[in-house]
Structures are given as structure tokens and as C-alpha cells.
Amino acid sequence: MIQLKNSPTKFSLPRLTYRVWSVWRRNLDVFMKTIRVNFLPSLLEPILYLVALGFGLGGFVQPIEGAPYVNFIAPALVAISVMYGSFFECTYASFVRMYFQKTFDAIVATPVSVEEVIAGELLWGATRAAANSTIVLVVVGAFGLITSPWFILVPLLSLTGGLMFAALAMCFTAFAPNIDFFNYPSFLLITPMFLLSGTFFPTSSLPPLAEIAAQALPLTHIVNLARGLISGSVEISLVLSVVWIAVATPILFVLSINLMKKRLIR
């Protein structure tokens, strides 16, 4: 892992200006160049999951909380796309820009600061998450699996949740000595979250200790909220998830920018 303690920078709240958007805009421009290819996986994956797991496997599964299995997993697919969209953007893709392409070095020679470069990357990660999850939402809608008008708030959830995962990802990027390093968080954190965050079965069917542990996973809260907004069970228990995300996101945002400053400023 990269040693960050030799950096002369001190921990501080990032000072950001509108210049963050010039970094965000750079990534958007690249994305728009290959937009068709970018959207293809986001479009195909949820269809495959809904068909194979929802309708296929779901035929053998009892209704969960009164709803067919396919309705149970549909909001989870939206939440998972938020996590994948931002996490992979701010690990692998950010690392390529930082390490191989030296894009960050080129940008910080202009009036844009290191803090603004990282903040721009994080906002871009959130944007990717929102774009991906919107496509999944459209697919879910096309299958007739949206049963609540609250679904209109899903893009807001995706942006916030996306920012949280982008910042979490960037914390790993700060320590990554090479690109293979990201296999660790992918297999040890992302894959377990994908399976255990109340995505394909309720967390209540886990053993009691594991159920408590699942509440500590960030994806659990995005899944809870997505399910509430898409399936129409907007209830008081969701407040916990809102608070969880509202607290974790700014902490991770400030932390990840500081860690990256320590990596980049020597």
C-alpha cells in the first residue's frame, strides 16, 4: 500500500470552487463519446437478472412481505447499479486517469486545485451512478414493477448514494499501489454487499448477529430506501437509512479528499 504519512499536507475541510465542474465536465465529455457502449451493460444486466432470478427462480420462491419475488428484487437491482456505477468509476477508472494517463497532474498545473480534481471525480462517480440506476429504473418500470409514485425520488437517492460509494471508493484509490489492488475491496466488500444487503432476501432471514452486521453495510440503506420509493412502503423505519447516508456521505467525502491529497501532494 502507498504510504501517506510522508505528505506535508494537513487534514482540512476542502476548499472548493465552481472549478470542480470543469473536472466533472471532462469526464462527461469522454462518457458522451462512447455513450452507446456505456449504456449497454446497464440496460442488459437488469433484464437478465429480472428474467433469470425474478421470473425464473422467483417461481419457486414464496412471496416476500406479500409481494412476488420479482417485485422484491427489482428495487435492489436499482440500488446495486448505484453501488457498481460509482465504486468502479472512482477505483479503476479514477486510478487509470491518475496513474496511467497522468490526467490529474495535467489539471493541477492549471488554476484547478488537487481538492477540486478529486471532488470533480467524486461528483462524476455520483453522476455515473445516477445515470446507470436511471436506466435500471426504466427497465424495472417497463416490466411493470414500479408500484409507487415515490419512485420519482430515486434519481436523488442515486446521486446521494452514488456520492457515498464514490467517496468510499476514492479512499481505496488513495492507498492503491497498482490497479490489481482493487481486487481486494471488490471481493471483500462489494461482492458481499451485493449478496447480503437485503438485496435477494430480507436481512431478517440472516442469523441475529449477521443481521446487525448487515445494517452496517452502506448498500443495505440504499436498498431499503429504493424499495420504499419503488414499492410504495414509505415508512418511519426509512428515517434511519436517510440519517445513515446523510452522516456517512459527508464524512467519506472529506476523508477521501484528504487521503488523496496526502497521496498526490508530496
Binding site: 506535508p8 465529455d29 469522454v30 494517463q101 495535467a106 489539471i107 492549471t110 488554476p111 508530496r266
Partner: protein, 307 residues
């Protein structure tokens, strides 16, 4: 020049990485319109110094002002005055040639129409209009270097920092870059070049700073430094047993250097001093050549001179 206000002023400037001191309490001034070369072997501290000027690296100690502004307090303003062509190409491989310039202009808050106009101007100046829609990986090394230069000029900088601008270029591309640097000098841009090509420094620079082990060990006009340290002519003779001793007796005030199987004799005597020895040592591959900045550089930084 001394009466002019310095555009860049360093005092006791120091940079440490952990326990390693890369730049060690250096003082220098760069004046408006000058073209100054930072010369030094690899790891001497020249790139580190340049990186502190464009606020890429924070200083560890001492003062560094650009256009009267402290780099630690006004990094944004300082960076907006500077154009940087870094050592390693960091062009954006995700964009075409033209788009590289336009996206870079955006980081400087240059409005869209203006950015396009400036990008076109740069491509014309560098003769790259035909390549405007090419992707970066389709460009030759020379083309990439020139695009890096074009990008460094997009904000119309007062100061241009060129970190080893011709490393890895073929002679054609190198001369093209030199010509472009000369035209920029004529436009009044203040230029700092780091290089370890002495020919390049002698061609382009009004003044050079020779840096070694993080310290400035000599500075001045290239021709003055040559005169001061190695004189005007160098006599080169094939080495032979006892020849060095004979030469030492012959040229009591000269300095000698043995390089491989040849002896270099440096003398501060006026031009023409060595003429008659060409006849005398005929058959020993003898030659007289002009002393140059490389001789100065090697004398000050590297291979030990015997005297």
C-alpha cells in the same frame, strides 16, 4: 537586467522529501523576457525546482515569489500566469488533438468561443492543423511534444516552463521545437528550460543555472561560463604512455582530462594557442575544437579533471 523587477524570486528555497533534500537553500532570480536554462545531471533538483514554481510541489522552506505573489498563498493566481510543458507527456488520451486544447482551456476559465479560437491559433503556429482530429496515440513523439507546448500556451502565459522539452526527439523534431521556442522568446515570453543537453542550453538560453545535488553551483551567460571555466579551444590527443606527463610540462597553466583513450587539454590562452601542436602531434589523432558548455558542465558536475 539587474535593474529590472524580478518575475521569479527564490530565497533559501528548500524542498525535502522525507529525509532527502532535493533542493537545498537555493537563491535565484528570473527577469522578465529572459530565457533561462536549469542544467544538471539527473536527480540534481531542477525538475523539483520547476515543480515548486508552478505550485505542483509545496516548498519545504524559504521563499518563492512569482510576479510578486507568494506561491504558497496565491497558487491559483500564480498558476494562471504560467504555462507548463512537463517532462512526461500527460496529454489526454481520451480526446483528439483539438479537443485536448479546448478541454485544457476550460480549466483556465477561458470561454468556449475564445478557447476554440486560441486552439486554432496554436495548431496553426505549431503546424498541426492537419492533425486536429487525430487521436493522441496516433501522434509521433515529436508531434506529442509540440502539442504539449501548444497546450502550455493556451492561457497566454507570461512564464513558460519547459521541462526537458526535447528529450527523446529526433534531430528534425528537436530543431523544430528550438525554432518554436525562439519565436516565443521574441514575443517576450519568459522561459525556463530544464535540460541536460548542453547544446540546447547554449542555443536557446540567455543565462544558465548549473544545479547539482540540490544546489546552484554556477550561473551566467553560456559563452561567459565557457570562457571562464574551459577557455576557447580544446586540444584532443590520443592517449599514449607518458604523453600526459609531457603535455603537463608543455602546458603548465592548462587543465587536463583523460576521457577513455583521449586526453583533453583545456587552456585559457587565446584562440589559436594550440595551432602549432597539431603539426607536432600528427599521427596521434590530434584535433582542436571549440570549448563548449558541455565541457563546463562536466568539469563542474562530473568526471574529475586532472591537473
Amino acid at each position: 537586467m539587474e535593474s529590472q523587477e524580478a518575475l521569479i524570486r527564490a530565497h533559501n528555497l528548500t524542498k525535502r522529501f522525507g529525509n532527502f533534500t532535493a533542493v537545498d537553500k537555493i537563491d535565484f532570480r528570473i527577469y522578465k523576457g529572459e530565457c533561462v536554462g536549469f542544467l544538471g545531471p539527473n536527480g540534481a533538483g531542477k525538475t523539483t525546482t520547476v515543480r515548486m514554481i508552478y505550485c505542483f510541489l509545496p516548498t519545504s522552506e524559504g521563499e518563492l515569489d512569482v510576479a510578486g505573489m507568494d506561491v504558497t498563498k496565491h497558487s491559483r493566481e500564480v498558476k494562471s500566469l504560467i504555462g507548463v510543458a512537463p517532462q512526461e507527456d500527460n496529454l489526454d488520451p481520451d480526446f483528439s488533438v483539438l479537443k485536448n486544447l479546448i478541454v485544457y482551456a476550460r480549466y483556465f476559465d477561458i470561454p468556449k468561443d475564445d478557447a476554440l479560437k486560441r486552439a486554432e491559433e496554436q495548431l496553426t503556429f505549431f503546424g498541426m492543423q492537419e492533425k486536429r482530429d487525430a487521436q493522441i496515440d496516433e501522434l509521433s513523439t515529436g508531434m506529442k511534444r509540440r502539442l504539449v507546448l501548444a497546450r502550455a500556451l493556451i492561457n497566454k502565459p507570461q512564464i513558460l516552463l519547459l521541462d526537458e522539452p526535447t528529450t527523446g526527439l529526433d534531430p528534425q523534431a528537436r530543431h523544430l521545437v528550438w525554432n518554436e521556442v525562439r519565436s516565443l522568446r521574441k514575443l517576450g515570453v519568459t522561459i525556463i528550460i530544464t535540460t541536460h543537453y548542453m547544446e540546447e542550453a547554449a542555443e536557446l538560453c540567455d543565462r544558465v543555472l548549473i544545479i547539482d545535488n540540490g544546489k546552484i553551483i554556477e550561473q551566467g551567460r553560456p559563452s561567459d561560463l565557457v570562457k571562464k571555466h574551459v577557455g576557447e579551444d580544446v586540444l584532443e590527443i590520443e592517449n599514449d604512455r607518458g604523453l600526459l606527463e609531457t603535455l603537463k610540462k608543455e602546458f603548465s597553466s592548462a587543465t587536463f582530462e583523460v576521457v577513455g583513450d583521449r586526453i583533453h587539454v583545456f587552456s585559457t590562452q587565446p584562440h589559436g594557442f594550440f595551432e602549432r601542436y597539431v603539426e607536432l602531434y600528427k599521427g596521434k589523432n590530434v584535433a582542436i575544437r571549440n570549448a563548449n558548455l558541455e565541457d563546463v558542465f562536466l568539469k563542474l558536475t562530473g568526471r574529475k579533471l586532472r591537473d
